[in-house]
């Protein structure tokens, strides 16, 4: 029997994913594990497509520091070059005897100007050097403004700070089976309020001889909670309304299953709605395993401890 016929006719198709249905045009998974979309844009100039803000916000702290240092030294080298071309005789107070020593002094004059420190031992007297210094000081001024904005943008950008389990599990649930995964906020003091989770499944199926994508909503045991202070195990019961009813592991592999997860909530540290995505492909689904609890009471019995290192811990069921 074909896979198409095997799909539960009582399951609810989802035509509003925004994904296309023609596998010929598509390559690979739709959503990467980190929640980004597996897509590339072409046909417009790089600077049109490139999102400076997004890129700098998403850089790791380490890379961000490198970008800033690199920028700082490059721009000072640039200005040093200009001053050098204008000639060191346009400056007062230079004490270096060799060209190399004078070049270094010019470079440090440039850093003093760019950062607006301006000690003043070396200072411009010629018109050219004066004018370039006036422009460099303003450049520094504005770079500072940009850096301030980026810094603020980086640490104030609303995020969900969620961590998802590496695998989705299929395990006994009540008197049937269920598909489940779990997630938690890993940041102290970050609690999401009014959290919604939406789960959709994508299947690649042969219809009238041509392969097409079909999308189905996965109804959940519980699709929203009031506050996410702990972990949350999301369960899709494989019941009479589930598109997965009767599916074997083999079927899932054939259908190139991908499960799309979207979590939305209000983060009150940022006072903003945040969302985070992830997806599970066939390789990331495990059968006959169950999550083990990930919290315990503290020693003094007065608080609860969320054990984040247990997030991925599951045990086999026979």
């Amino acid at each position: 029997m074909s896979l198409l016929k095997r799909i539960n006719p009582f399951s609810k198709q989802n035509d509003e994913t925004g994904f296309g249905t023609n596998p010929n045009g598509y390559g690979g998974r739709f959503i990467n594990r980190d929640g980004s979309f597996n897509i590339r844009r072409e046909g417009r100039p790089f600077w049109d497509r490139f999102s400076v803000y997004h890129s700098l916000l998403n850089l790791s702290a380490w890379k961000f520091t490198c970008v800033i240092l690199l920028f700082y030294f490059s721009i000072n080298l640039l200005y040093t070059g200009i001053y050098w071309l204008l000639g060191t005789e346009q400056f007062q107070g230079i004490i270096g005897q060799t060209a190399w020593a004078r070049l270094k002094e010019i470079f440090f004059f440039s850093t003093e100007t760019f950062t607006t420190v301006g000690y003043g031992r070396v200072n411009p007297v010629g018109d050219g050097a004066n004018m370039v210094a006036a422009i460099e000081a303003m450049t520094g001024f504005l770079s500072f403004a940009v850096a301030t904005g980026l810094m603020y943008g980086r640490f104030s950008r609303p995020r969900a700070h969620l961590v998802f389990s590496d695998h989705a599990l299929i395990a006994p649930y009540k008197d049937m089976t269920g598909l489940m995964f779990r997630f938690a906020s890993y940041k102290d003091n970050h609690t999401l309020t009014n959290v919604d989770v939406t789960v959709t499944i994508g299947l690649q199926i042969v219809e009238d001889g041509t392969p097409v994508y079909k999308f189905y909503s996965l109804p959940l045991e519980r699709g929203k909670i009031e506050s996410l202070s702990m972990n949350w195990t999301v369960v899709h019961p494989i019941d009479d309304n589930s598109p997965l009813l009767g599916f074997t592991a083999e079927d899932m592999r054939n259908a190139d299953v991908e499960i799309y997860v979207l979590v939305k909530g209000f983060n009150d540290v940022y006072a903003n709605t945040v969302l985070q995505r992830t997806s599970y492909t066939y390789e990331e689904i495990q059968f006959n395993r169950k999550f083990i609890p990930m919290y315990r009471e503290s020693e003094n019995g007065r608080t609860t401890i969320l054990e984040l290192h247990l997030l991925n811990k599951s045990r086999e069921i026979n």
Copy 2:
């Protein structure tokens, strides 16, 4: 038969557009192609109406740089003028022999003060110059604050970053015809979530001898999608509920048709709801053309490529 009678009686009128219905008071299209409203305000002072924030945010990077440079040189010229009037004898360390040389030195002293570099070779000793320098330094200080805010405002301002097709097409759709246009996000990594699109049509029609505007909602094949990672072709099927049922190209021209489009969604780079408008007038509607697909699989088959240069590409249908 009059145009009014020709309008499909089963179509849904939209009385909540917020546009007026009296063409005598109105001129031209309601919404420009770039989504701004075709309206001008009068009767309040310029500074009341002028939105500095909006204006500076919407300036191109190039013009914004010019505005800043212009401001920088103007304010330094202003302060140079004041120092000059106070007299160069209020300064220590000036080495220029001619008036012109001294003027330049005063100008560069001003830039050093405004940017808070303060080399100190030239420095104020007179009370007047000292006081003006104190004020200039604070002005620079605050200008910097404003620049920082503007910079941050410019790159953190939530936008939809959508690009719409230049034309709306009327083409066969299923077993009838449909009005369609498409759009896509042109920025890498910018995906809209929970995207809604609303389409309204405005017609100018003669009722009891006087022309009036009538507005109708255009029902869509699909009015919302969960995520806009790709392009989206919005289709209004010209079916039994469509106000356009039975309309000829001639009718559309006579009715001075304008189609208003509003797209709303949540952009999670900015973590904010964003919206973008556009409109299509009669001239921007093409008949018997169909869009061609604008995405393809990558060479290695592991990702999908959105071909933005094909956004406006359509082919004739006979």
Copy 3:
């Protein structure tokens, strides 16, 4: 017949205003014309109640500048005082011969330090002066940070920028009468999207011998529009569901009528939901007047002009 009995029994009472119902504890109107609440807080320390952020954001540009200048001169006077107490011998480079001249030099040294200009002619050599200068420079640094935040907060704070008509009018509407007022956005390029308006009326009525406040929702001819690019005349039809049905001007005065208006919408310049309130008391209601149109076509017929100076213009009806 008592006023209470005269209130239309089909009108809808509003118990969710958040206002109290006991006139003994209340004084004056609930909402001022500018939309602020007519209320004062007591019983907590001033700094608890005082909202620095709100206060500085709402100051006029003129007063804000004064606050900044005042702060700048005060803090420099303070530091000048400290340096003076430490003694001018802690400084190098002072050239003044009299105490007054030296005091001025110390003051300007302070401004140079606070703004981080630091010319360096006058510079600290004593330990005390050096330490105070180090602290002053940091104070300046942080003041700048605060100023930057305030500047940005001031011009990026989301506002509705609406202007309401000075009076609400009661005038013939269709085949009955209606209560109407109008408003418009006075800022170029600021358009509200999905605008909602809610109107509630408060009446002071004697019930069982004691006066109480009663609140009723006023149903509107149209309570929301899709975009507010023009002016909007809000109309409450005094029909069978209106609490005002059968009310005379005299009745309104006796009931100490107050009409609360709340407008909400999405401002896409700020990309934020904004709201603005106002209220009309009995004195601000005019009878038998009708608003005159406030827009016209431009000379070339290609755009529409919103005439804001006509906002309050109405004509008598007989």
Copy 4:
């Protein structure tokens, strides 16, 4: 009769709290009085869990100032150490005769560099000192950027600014009893719009021999108001739908009752949705007491005064 059987069967259970139901894993109250969650995270590195932004935003002004001062002096000591290792001969203009005097001069040179004041009397001539100074100036530059962001974040962070009564009271209400508490905004000019309050109760109950947590929604006399300009007394009527119907003080103690309160609204000073939580445990519930009014008319009768010091004032009822 067991507590479980005593729970009103008509009350509505709440399965969406996001709290667990197994008391063995949980310790103490779920929500602290200040609204934070009584939970601790383990199993991920400190810097992963630690939320710098949240921590610095929530520090008191006093502690925040100390953190900044501490940072300022530490980083200058660090740089002083580096300069000292490079040797004072790398500097020009040092006038100290002793090592200690020179060390101090180096320290003040460092503060001048970090704050970008740069008087220039002492200035680097050696390559090492020059390079370190260039880096220190940039560090100062960026620290300033961070400070600016933090300052702005601190005073622009949307908060509800609510103060809750210390106790929830159980008192006669209409012809039954009710559970009530009250709260008010303590900041001048801060009014919440469209305020929602949600109240949930948690009970620890023995079911089939094992203790479990059960959660019930508490229906309110009024769950939302349009604007919170005054205080609001929230009332849960203990009627036929209340889980508390028939509960004695003893029962509440046994069930280890905890009442979770969540208030949400739109604060238009911040133009943002804000929320605030609190909870009341058994110890914080008082019986047979009623709140006394907390507002009065002003002397001139033109405004209303909210008396915040009366927030916790109640009187006994017999």
